[in-house]
Symmetry: none
Subunit: 224 residues, 2 copies
DNA sequence: CGAAAAGTTAACATTAACTTAATCTTTAAA
DNA sequence: TTTAAAGATTAAGTTAATGTTAACTTTTCG
């Protein structure tokens, strides 16, 4: 079942969105402020989060940033609600890791098809929903951002963690560099040619040489 | 080479997009109205079509619909150009078979990364959606870039893998050298006369002698 | 603020993959 | 049966892709 979390301080909008999305069969959760929103993301792991940008205390951008700061949610789709002429915020929205923005006023039809399009876009990444991934002798805990091998705890910095999680999300599948760049850095970020290699290097250093395999000219895969 | 067709009635935009995409090495074709656009799609079979929504006579939506009406262009990626707040049209765009929309004003960098993402998406989907090919006692897994024969895992370097996948794509069909060159190396690359032979040799070494058959003076085929 | 950690870049090294070249073998037509 | 053309084989050469290290930059957090 597809879970959608809506975060907005205006009750009317919350109700309006909630009503329309529920009617379409989505499982809707609501929060009336950013802090609560972040908490509910952790608890419910929604497939899509809709954030109002203009909120008192913590605005949507900030909420997004904090959600994205946790690697285990970097595949959650985040959309922003904006008043029609908040152009500047739209730009920040994408910078901060948002996937789309929906501008108010909202027509139900528009909302529904936008939401469906967003979810469609993400279907490929679904397999990875359970918080702890076990593979071979590793246990990857996305909440704690750490890996267990037997008694040994391996802690990884964010990018390294994201990378191993990506590879492990489809064990055996070969990920091209392109794929890795677009999934971990996003399409608008351009990093140098050797960046992935270096992260792979670090991972092999910490995990051992036998987990990640290079297929030259093709990409990397998690081998087990 | 990647071909992009841009359809827009405004010459300035056409030039601007064209300039930026050409600079990135794309092969750009332009049309200043929908009718011409549809014609050029037929002629050039571009990998990506960028359609302005707002055009006199035939709008982008209609152009898209007509392109999609031809089954052979089912897989062509279509993106729309929209003014920033044309919300309704964005919806129609997706309904009608568009893959993305790009909103004006356009920053070159954003354009480029958007276009690349779109093109990439197609390639990935191809590999991801392709099932495992089973033929004789072989299972060819394109996602894992490996071949299984019973318990045995056979890993092949890129060219060899591409070659076997090509041969297997139409089992029994004879592929001429010309065909193999153009499908695997493309028309811009020229390699020597014996290159294919060597790759065939390696494949036979790894798979066994009985899969690939030589028809002298004609070509090679996958025999099973 | 300022140190430590994370992330990126850049230069150079290494290596697997790929191509070529030289030579040998097979095939099929005259 | 001869012979020329096509293909097979092998080893050696070349290149493109990745590995490695360290320096540099940015971010994080006390």
């Amino acid at each position: 079942m597809t879970k959608i979390l809506i975060v907005d301080d205006e009750i009317d909008i919350l109700d309006f969105l909630s009503y329309n999305l529920k009617k379409e069969g989505f499982d809707v959760i609501t929060a009336s402020n950013g802090k609560m929103g972040i908490e509910l993301v952790r608890q419910h792991r929604p497939n899509l989060v809709i954030l109002d940008i203009m909120m008192p205390e913590m605005d949507g951008i900030e909420v997004c940033r904090r959600i994205r700061a946790q690697p285990e949610f970097n595949e959650t789709t985040i959309a922003f609600l904006t008043a029609r002429d908040e152009d500047l915020s739209q730009i920040n929205a994408l910078d901060v890791g948002g996937d789309d923005y929906i501008s108010k006023p909202i027509k139900p039809q528009v909302l529904i098809s936008r939401v469906k399009a967003l979810l469609r876009r993400n279907k490929l990444d679904d397999a990875t929903n359970s918080p702890i991934i076990k593979i071979g002798d590793l246990e990857i805990d996305r909440q704690k951002v750490q890996i267990l091998r037997g008694e040994e705890v391996i802690e990884l910095p964010r990018k390294e963690f994201e990378l191993i999680v990506l590879l492990v999300s489809k064990p055996g599948k070969v990920f091209t560099r392109e794929e890795i760049y677009s999934k971990i850095w996003g399409n608008d970020v351009i990093v140098g040619d050797r960046t992935i290699d270096v992260h792979i290097r670090k991972l092999r250093e910490k995990l051992g040489e036998n987990y990640i395999k290079t297929l030259k000219g093709i990409g990397y895969k998690f081998d087990f």
